[in-house]
């Protein structure tokens, strides 16, 4: 019945990840094509899986045990959608990754495949413990990639990520252990149906632990302290991956903790407050940054906070908006990180103030503008719909003050992006080397996606209509 096995999404990157060192022994040049090919294959599979999942959710049982005990992959339409986004973003970023020169390349490619695999796993699994395992895989791959540059900044960032990430994972583990101790099951749906059997106090502790643990990955305030330095120190393609892959997997996991497992509806306002705090601090501190990648990292925090807010508002509209925002943020932020990578390469500095006129080359400038306008939520780019739906959802729930605060923070966002655009398009700059194909092709691809789905968002909304089932505890 199942034409394409969703487990392939995890298995293929895993297989190729460990195949890479072998291939590397023969030829190092071919590596980058293998990686891109793998991810392309994965994207196609993700597309097929996603089409399958649109019809009916896929439950795939591994190892032959029945659901309460066995390991389960659970692919709903939304999971499929997020997996598709992750793979697609991964594919486009891998084109940019081809430019990578710094040795050891094998490890870079290997780790990035593992990151992809972990992120896919986090999205697809239907099992709480597997979720933890994949979280660990993602995290460890991320630690490695974050320090890949082997410079002080990279190490510092990676170290902080390691510290916070492992604390976060520990929390996740504690939460899982608590749930298991009470319910003797790890399957998400199973937990959800039997949640009432839990002791309420234990439940709270378990929820808090999970919320906090995934919050680290999902860049929630105040657990996002690792973000700026890690993004800053990591190679540019890796920053793009963090923003569009692991963060998305993290927030999706968080969404599942909130909706699928705990089905919280009474305490959602708490999530909204956490979301708006994340936005608020993210955007404000982004304004105070002088380095482009740090600014983008903080901006990323702000965007993730917005998604969190959307999830917390919890109406169909807002959650649709949140998912839309995951998509748009994955695309736009990856675009911006790649563009930032080029800018840093071209100007030899991270300081924004020294990037005069960098955007005057239309190959960079136009995607850059499209990306920024999308992040700012301007129609007809994809960033608009997510923001608008989250806001309208919030209004229909009567969160006026919170939205006003959110809008104020967004205004700050506008301010720092406009400041950056001002510098990037200022006249009288130096002549910069024009971008290579590996730079502008991903940029243009992202820009095209941003514009196409911005002008014609209907397919996405059709997918997102499944949010209703998701909200009521379905997959």
């Amino acid at each position: 019945m199942i034409a394409v096995h969703p487990v392939l999404l995890i298995a293929i990157p895993l297989f190729f990840a460990f195949l890479l060192p072998l291939i590397g022994l023969f030829s190092k040049k071919v590596l980058k094509y293998v990686v891109t090919g793998t991810i392309a294959l994965n994207t196609i599979i993700a597309l097929l899986v996603f089409r399958e999942a649109l019809n009916s959710p896929i439950f795939d049982i591994l190892g032959g045990f029945k659901p309460p005990l066995g390991i389960v992959l659970m692919v709903g339409p939304l999971g499929g959608f997020i997996a598709l986004i992750i793979n697609m973003a991964g594919l486009i970023i891998s084109i940019y990754g081809m430019e990578m020169k710094k040795e050891p390349l094998v490890k870079y490619y290997m780790l990035s495949l593992l990151l992809l695999m972990g992120a896919n796993g986090m999205v697809l699994t239907g099992d709480l413990f597997n979720l933890f395992v994949f979280l660990e895989v993602t995290s460890i791959a991320s630690y490695g990639l974050a320090a890949y540059n082997k410079d002080l900044k990279g190490f510092e960032g990676a170290l902080k990520y390691v510290i916070l990430g492992s604390i976060g994972s520990t929390f996740v583990l504690i939460g899982i252990a608590l749930i298991y101790s009470q319910l003797r099951t790890l399957n998400m749906l199973d937990i959800a149906t039997r949640l009432n059997e839990m002791d309420p106090y234990v439940k709270i502790v378990a929820f808090t632990s999970l919320f906090l643990g995934f919050g680290v990955e999902a860049e929630m305030f105040p657990l996002n302290t690792w973000v700026p330095e890690t993004y800053d120190g990591a190679p540019h393609s890796v920053s793009a991956m963090f923003a569009s892959m692991s963060a998305k997997a993290g927030i999706f996991a968080l969404a599942r903790v909130i909706f699928t497992i705990f089905a919280f509806t009474n305490y959602l306002w708490f999530v909204v407050i956490m979301g708006v705090l994340t936005v608020f601090f993210g955007e404000i501190i982004a304004y105070a940054q002088r380095d482009i990648k740090r600014m983008l990292a903080y901006s990323s925090i702000g965007q993730m906070g917005m998604i969190l807010m959307g999830l917390g508002i919890g109406t169909t509209m807002a959650v649709e908006g949140a998912f839309f925002q995951m998509f748009s943020h994955a695309m736009a932020k990856a675009l911006l990180f790649i563009a930032a990578g080029y800018m840093i390469y071209a100007t030899q500095t991270e300081k924004m103030s020294e990037m005069k006129g960098i955007g005057r080359n239309p190959l960079i400038g136009i995607p850059l503008l499209i990306g920024i306008l999308s992040i700012l939520g301007m129609p007809p780019f994809i960033g608009f719909y997510g923001k608008f739906y989250i806001l309208m959802g919030g209004f229909s729930e009567g969160y006026y003050a919170i939205i006003a605060l959110f809008l104020a923070a967004s205004l700050v966002e506008v301010a720092y992006y406009a400041r950056f655009i001002k510098i990037a398009f200022e006249g009288g700059g130096k002549r910069y080397p024009s971008p290579k194909a590996t730079v502008y092709i991903p940029l243009l691809l992202f820009a095209v996606i941003i514009v196409i789905f911005g002008v014609y968002p209907k397919p996405i909304f059709e997918i997102l209509s499944h949010v209703t089932t998701f909200l009521t505890g379905g997959v």
Binding site: L164, I284, A288, M392, S396
Partner: protein, 606 residues
């Protein structure tokens, strides 16, 4: 049948410019010409679509409502014509990347037309933002700093609007303007407040005007469209918000003061202050573009007065004034653009005497200035008249004098432009300056025509406005083809024109009795002291005595207040930044604290 017609209209006025936007980007060298064609088609197509009333509910997941009625038509008439004229003007002056210019202009035109057609908040907001960011990119072509200031206020306006939309949505669960039943008065207050303030930003109402002098200093051919055309969307938005969505009965539900809603009155007052402040600041500008920008702020203040007062005479005066402003201010910006194009300077004190070399430009600008100052041989007078009488017949003793004195101030800065730029002594470097190129002159000529025609036949335009008044339920106005009346007075333009012609002929007869000999400009009476090497164009710091008397007040600047505010915020941001100490121990501590905090909250909730 009707849905086809609607899609036809939507196609012509929104999709066609959008398509043109892409085409002209590909058109490279011919971009501007493609732009002209795509701006001309909607302008011409307005003619067959006059007095149509097409409305259609469309379901795209949510219901949206696209409408083409007289209101839409009236506003499109100004915006599309102005856009066309700006494109014509751009032929000779936009040399740098014309494809970007043309495609962005068409994009914002499409956005503007879309805003005018939408009668629901979703499409309104989408088109509004489209218009807004394309305008941003157009300003970015000249200066990032100006663009930044514009964008901040543009987004501020959008966020105000979205607050209004959101509250509307909260009460009705719909975006349609027509679904406004059942909103409590308090809800209406906030909806209208946010909407009006949001749209007022686009009209540059004090104290939300600080972006305008900068944004209006960018490319003249765009600025004329921006100030003339796009700022009218603010007028449209406020008209729609206050009279289209809410309506008079709800406005009056807030309480009335001599038949004027207590909700509208503060905005009218704000408008009057805007008119006054804009005018006073315009008098002291030396930068031609900034002068026109402040003047624009002032003139739109009048419009705000009319919209705020909300009597039929006031609202129609506001619409008429918006119409006039669209034409005369674009004309002035184009004139300024032509002068800047020829001289390369933009400071008034560095020009002079250009009227002798650029006579047609001078005449067009002169006419626009007549309209701006409200000289009765232009339609600019009629709209001002309506606004004054509206305020006076309701005995508003603060609004009326502010408006009146502001219009006296308008004479001052008008003459500043005329004298400083076009009259006085022609400086040596400009001796051989040529008249503006033909497309520029044609563009200015097109813009001049309505100002002339509607001054003789005000009834024609008042008929359209009366239609709008009726459809929004504000009331009717008293007019016929040549004259117009308030409850306390009236005027007949035909009589004025005939009388003026006759006395002008008399003066002409006396004048032509004797011939005159032309002499050189340096052949002047200077009481025997004629230093030939000194520039004798008295345009530098023209109104210095006045400025000296105003100095204690001019010291307070809203611009600087904003700068102080932003500095305060930025310093605050730097402080907040310190939360991220870059010390992993602190970070781990945050995690722990957060965990405890969450637990506490969780237990407390239980």
């Amino acid at each position: 049948m009707e849905i086809n017609l609607l899609w036809g209209v939507f196609g012509i006025f929104v999709l066609l410019p959008l398509a043109g936007s892409i085409l002209s980007y590909l058109g490279k060298k011919f971009a501007i010409y493609i732009g002209i064609i795509f701006a001309l088609i909607p302008t011409i197509m307005l003619y067959p679509f006059y007095a149509q009333n097409i409305s259609e509910l469309i379901n795209i997941g949510v219901n949206i409502n696209l409408v083409f009625d007289t209101t839409t038509w009236f506003f499109m008439l100004m915006i599309d014509t102005v856009a066309f004229a700006s494109f014509l003007f751009a032929i000779s002056c936009v040399k740098k990347k014309p494809e970007g210019f043309a495609s962005l202009m068409l994009l914002s035109l499409a956005g503007a037309n879309g805003v005018l057609m939408s009668r629901d908040f979703l499409s309104l907001y989408i088109f509004w933002e489209m218009m807004s960011w394309s305008a941003y990119l157009l300003i970015l072509r000249s200066s990032g700093e100006y663009a930044r200031r514009y964008l901040l206020f543009g987004i501020l306006s959008a966020y105000f609007i979205i607050m209004g939309i959101g509250i509307f949505y909260y009460y009705t669960g719909s975006f349609l303007f027509s679904d406004s039943a059942g909103i409590p008065l308090m809800g209406w207050f906030w909806i209208l407040f946010f909407l009006v303030v949001g749209f007022a930003v686009k009209m540059a109402v004090v104290p939300l005007h600080v972006w305008a002098p900068y944004a209006y200093s960018s490319e003249p051919s765009f600025v004329s469209f921006f100030s003339g055309g796009l700022s009218k969307l603010g007028t449209f938005g406020i008209l729609m918000g206050m009279y289209g969505i809410a309506g008079l009965s709800i406005l009056q539900g807030f309480g009335t003061f001599r038949d004027v809603s207590l909700f509208g009155y503060p905005f009218a007052l704000l408008g009057a202050f805007t008119a006054f402040i804009g005018t006073i600041l315009a008098i002291f500008q030396d930068d031609l573009r900034k002068l026109l920008a402040y003047s624009s702020i002032g003139q739109l203040g009048y419009v705000m007065v009319g919209l705020g007062l909300g009597t039929p005479l006031a609202v129609s005066g506001a619409l008429f004034h918006a119409f006039n402003h669209a034409f005369f201010k674009s004309l002035l910006f184009l004139g300024a653009g032509a002068v800047i194009y020829r001289t390369g300077k933009y400071k008034i004190s560095e020009m002079g005497g250009l009227g002798y070399r650029m006579p047609f430009t001078f005449l067009f600008v002169l006419f626009a200035i007549f309209a701006l100052a409200g000289i009765p041989i232009t339609s600019g007078f009629i709209s001002k008249w309506m606004l004054y009488e509206a305020a006076i017949e309701k005995k508003f003793v603060i609004i009326a004098p502010l408006m009146l004195i502001a219009s006296v101030g308008a004479f001052l800065y008008s003459f500043r432009i005329l004298y400083g730029v076009f009259l006085g002594q022609l400086d040596k470097p400009y001796e051989n300056i040529k008249e503006a190129p033909l497309p520029m002159l044609v563009a200015m000529g097109i813009l001049m025509l309505p100002l002339l025609i509607f001054s003789i036949f005000p009834g024609w335009i008042l008929e359209w406005i009366d239609d709008i008044m009726k459809s929004t339920g504000v009331g009717t106005i008293d007019y016929n083809t040549y004259s117009y009346y308030s409850s306390i007075g009236g005027a007949n333009m035909l009589v004025l024109w005939i009388a003026f012609m006759l006395v002008f002929i008399v003066a002409m007869l006396i004048f032509l009795m004797k011939k005159a000999r032309k002499v050189d400009q340096y052949d002047n009476y200077l009481a025997g002291e004629s230093p030939p090497y000194v520039q004798l164009h008295a345009a530098h710091n023209f109104y210095k005595p006045l400025r000296d008397t105003w100095a204690p007040l001019l010291k307070y600047s809203i611009d600087r207040a904003y700068e102080k505010l932003s500095r305060f915020f930025v310093e605050g941001f730097e402080e907040i930044k310190k939360i991220y100490t870059e010390n992993p121990q602190d970070y781990a501590a945050y995690l722990g604290i957060a965990f405890l905090l969450f637990l506490f909250i969780g237990w407390w909730l239980l």
